[in-house]
Subunit: 103 residues, 2 copies
DNA sequence: TTCAACTATGTCAGATTTGACATTCCTACC
DNA sequence: GGTAGGAATGTCAAATCTGACATAGTTGAA
């Protein structure tokens, strides 16, 4: 089982201590994941605030529903780039993205 | 000539108005580039503060000198992911990255 | 329950990004 | 001049990410 799979399991509630101690992540790795999770949550929040479905957002930014689902789930196969671009597509400005990043 | 090439030229001083009006970028595209530029500048700043060469940083994060140069130059062929991971590798924490992102 | 809308998950071919390498450019010092 | 260390640029095969699709799971309303 690779880290990606482990991370998905961990996300589903199979967490005992902190994520990084369970997975044996370096501080950099877990910080990276935290950033991704923060932005993923922000994306979902913004989308719902605007009353959009994942399909709506996908077409607005030229992507697909499944990829939006993966973004919001902070899937390891989704880049920070894509999440940031999605936030920008919803109208979020860099400053707001910055605020969300470390939240 | 594609946008990537244009952006590289623009960076070299061939700028008249704002970057986005010269290149005909959408607000989202230029916001994305601004973010990348901000983090790229931060990376260079942090590296120099720590007295490291590009080669030093590259080996510290398992990359190569040329890629570090491209990160600092906000090259279109470099992802935000890589720049963020580099910043984390230098010891920057998410909150500090957030502050740099919109600066 | 059935239905419909929405969301999650897995897969894949094509696109993009990666580290590595070679090469060139730029200073600064001798 | 020459030499050396650092930085920029271009290229490429391998790795990673992407949109699209199929499919399965979830939710809520009738």
């Amino acid at each position: 089982m690779d880290k990606a799979k482990k991370a998905r399991l961990a996300k589903k509630g199979w967490k005992v201590g902190t994520v990084d101690e369970f997975l044996g992540l370096t501080p950099e790795e877990s910080a990276y994941i935290e950033i991704k999770l923060s932005l993923a949550r922000e994306l979902k929040k913004v989308r719902l605030e605007n009353g959009m479905s994942q399909t709506d957002l996908a077409s607005k930014m030229g992507s697909s529903q499944s990829r939006v689902a993966k973004m919001e789930g902070a899937d390891p196969q989704v880049s920070l780039d894509l999440i940031v671009r999605s936030l920008l597509a919803t109208g979020r400005r860099p400053r707001e993205i910055a605020r969300a990043l470390a939240k």
